[in-house]
C-alpha cells in the first residue's frame, strides 16, 4: 500500500513536489517561523535575565507562552488594513508578496533528507544507487540549484525597496534605499564566498554538495572552507537584514521601511524575516554543516550497526532539523548581542573587507584544489 503510493509519487514528480512543498512549508517552515517569533522573545528574555511572554492561555493550557504567537497571528489578521491615500496601491500590495514569496520558493532547492528508496523502506540499503526508484527529499532538484537560490534571493530585495518607495513616506523611503544598497552589496559577497565550496564539492546542486560532504565530519564545509563559512554567514545575515545589519528597520533610526504597513501586511514582512532566518540556516547547514548528514551514519547505518532505510532517513531528517534549529539559535544570539552597524560602515565591511577576502578565498581554494587533484 505505502509502496504503491510512494511509487506513484516517484513517477509523478509534480504531484510529489507539491506534497513535499506542503509538507516542508506548512509542516516545517511555517510552524518553525512562528515558533521562532516566540523563541526569539523567550531567548532574548533569557539572555536579558527576564522571563518573556508566558501568559497567553486557553483555559488551563499555557504551553510556556507559545500561544502568544497564535494571538499575534489572529490579531494581525483582524487588524485594520490601512492603505494611506498617496501610496502606489499596486506596488504597496506587491511589496509584501515580493518579500515572502521568493523565500518560500527557494526552499524548493534545499534537500531536507536523502533520497528515499521506494520499495526498500524497511530493509537495509547499502548503496542508494541500486534503488529501483527514488523520491528525493528535496522539492526541486536542478543542476543550477544554488544559482536559482541566488537569483531568487536577489528578488527579495524588491520587497523591501518597493515597500519603502511605494509607501510615500520619507522614513520608509530611506529604509528602502538602505535595504536595496545593503542587500545588493552583500549579494555579491554571498555569491563569491560560496564559490570556494562549489570548487571543493564540484557542483552547484545542493543535494550533490551534501552528498559530497559525506558522513565524515572533517569533510564538511565548515572544516574545508572555514573562511568562507564566516564570510557567508556574515553576508547572509546582512542579506536577511537581521541585527547587527538591521539598518533598513533600524528602529530607533528610521522606524523601518514598513512604517506604513499595518495588520497582516506588516505581519508578512515580520514573518518573512523569520522565514529568511530559517532559510539562511538551511543554506548554511547544506553547504557547511553537511546538510542532512549525520556524523558516522551511512545509508546502511552506523558502521557495522545496520539500520532499516526508513530509520536512517528519519535520523537524517531530524539531524537536518536540529542543525537548522541550532543555527537559528545562533542567529538570535547574535541579534540580541551586537549593536547595529552604521550604513557607511556596513558598505565598507561589505565591499572593502568581505569582498576582497572572498576573492582571496576563491584563489586559495582553487589553488589547493588544483594541487590536490594531481593526487597520486
Amino acid at each position: 500500500m505505502i509502496d504503491s503510493i510512494l511509487m506513484f509519487l516517484a513517477e509523478h514528480t509534480a504531484v510529489a513536489a507539491l506534497l513535499k512543498l506542503l509538507l516542508l512549508v506548512l509542516g516545517f517552515v511555517m510552524p518553525l517561523a512562528s515558533l521562532s517569533t516566540w523563541a526569539e522573545r523567550r531567548q532574548s528574555a533569557m539572555m536579558q535575565d527576564r522571563l518573556g511572554p508566558n501568559r497567553a492561555n486557553i483555559g488551563p493550557v499555557k504551553l510556556w507562552g507559545i500561544l502568544h504567537f497564535v494571538a499575534d497571528a489572529i490579531k494581525m489578521m483582524f487588524k485594520e488594513d490601512v492603505v494611506p491615500s498617496k501610496v502606489d496601491r499596486f506596488l504597496f500590495a506587491l511589496a509584501p508578496v515580493m518579500a515572502i514569496a521568493p523565500v518560500l520558493i527557494t526552499f524548493a532547492v534545499i534537500p531536507f533528507g536523502p533520497d528515499l528508496c521506494v520499495g526498500q523502506v524497511m530493509s537495509v540499503v547499502t548503496d542508494p544507487a541500486t534503488c529501483k526508484a527514488t523520491i528525493p527529499l528535496q522539492v526541486a532538484r536542478m543542476d543550477v540549484g544554488m544559482l536559482f537560490y541566488f537569483a531568487l534571493a536577489s528578488l527579495a530585495v524588491y520587497g523591501t525597496t518597493l515597500a519603502g518607495w511605494a509607501s510615500y513616506n520619507k522614513w520608509s523611503l530611506l529604509g528602502g534605499l538602505r535595504a536595496s544598497s545593503q542587500m545588493m552589496s552583500y549579494e555579491v559577497c554571498m555569491g563569491l564566498s560560496l564559490m570556494g565550496a562549489f570548487l571543493v564539492y564540484g557542483s552547484l546542486e545542493p543535494n550533490a554538495i551534501v552528498t559530497a560532504q559525506g558522513s565524515n565530519i572533517l569533510h564538511w564545509g565548515i572544516f574545508t572552507q572555514p573562511l568562507a563559512f564566516v564570510l557567508f554567514f556574515t553576508a547572509a545575515i546582512a542579506e536577511t537584514k537581521r541585527a547587527p545589519f538591521d539598518l533598513p528597520e533600524g528602529e530607533p533610526e528610521l522606524i523601518g521601511y514598513f512604517v506604513e504597513y499595518s495588520g497582516m501586511r506588516f505581519g508578512i514582512f515580520f514573518l518573512a524575516e523569520f522565514i529568511e532566518t530559517i532559510f539562511l540556516s538551511a543554506v548554511v547547514a547544506t553547504v557547511f554543516l553537511g546538510g542532512w548528514q549525520v556524523p558516522g551514519l551511512d545509508s546502511s547505518g552506523f558502521g557495522s550497526l545496520h539500520l532499516p532505510h526508513l530509520v536512517v532517513v528519519l535520523l537524517q531528517v531530524v539531524a537536518w532539523s536540529l542543525k537548522i534549529l541550532m543555527l537559528c539559535w545562533l542567529q538570535l544570539l547574535i541579534r540580541w548581542t551586537l549593536p547595529r552597524f552604521r550604513p557607511d560602515q556596513l558598505m565598507r565591511l561589505g565591499w572593502k573587507q568581505l569582498l576582497p577576502l572572498s576573492l582571496i578565498n576563491i584563489i586559495i581554494t582553487a589553488a589547493v584544489v588544483l594541487w590536490r587533484s594531481g593526487g597520486k
Binding site: 522573545r41 527576564r50 522571563l51 501568559r55 507562552g65 494571538a71 489572529i74 490579531k75 499595518s262
Partner: protein, 175 residues
Amino acid sequence: MAESYTTRLDDALNWARKYSLFTYPFVTACCGMEYMATAASKYDIARFGAEFPRFSPRQADLLFVVGTITERQAPVLHRIWMQMAEPKYVVAFGVCASTGGFYQNYNTVPGCDQVIPVDVYIPGCPPRPEQVLDGLILLQKKIAEATTWVQRRDRKELELAAQSTDGRKRLPVVA
C-alpha cells in the same frame, strides 16, 4: 445560532487582541523612566505579550501616553491616535497623562482625555511598575469584556450613554 458563533468568534478575537498588544510608547516625560523599568528585566511587561514597541501607529494596538502632554504636544498625540489602525486602545500612564497632576498651568493639557479617548488611567507619579501592570491587566480585562472605548463606539453605545444620566459618570474633583 449564528449569533452564538459570532460571539464565539468575537471572544476568540478579543482573546488574541489582549495577548498581543503592540504598544506605541508616546513617551514624553518622567514616566518614561518607569516605562523602561516596566519593560526591563525585573517587571518584564513581555510576560503579558506586550513588549513590542512599534513606533508606527499603523502597527500598534495600544497607545501608551507616558508623561505630561503639553499644548504643543497635543496635536501630535491626536494625530498619532487618529493614524492608528483599528482596533486601538489608549492607556494614560501616570497622573500627568491622566489629569495633568500638579501641572495646572498655561501649557499643560489637564489629562490626555481632553484630546483622545482613554481606556485605562494609571495613577502614580510616576506609577510603579506594579501599577502599570495592573493597568495592563485591567485593559486586557476590558478588551476581553469588550468594554473599551473603541468597542463601545463600534456598538454605538457611546451615543446612548451621552444622552443618559449614568450614575457612574462622576466628575473628578477639581480644586
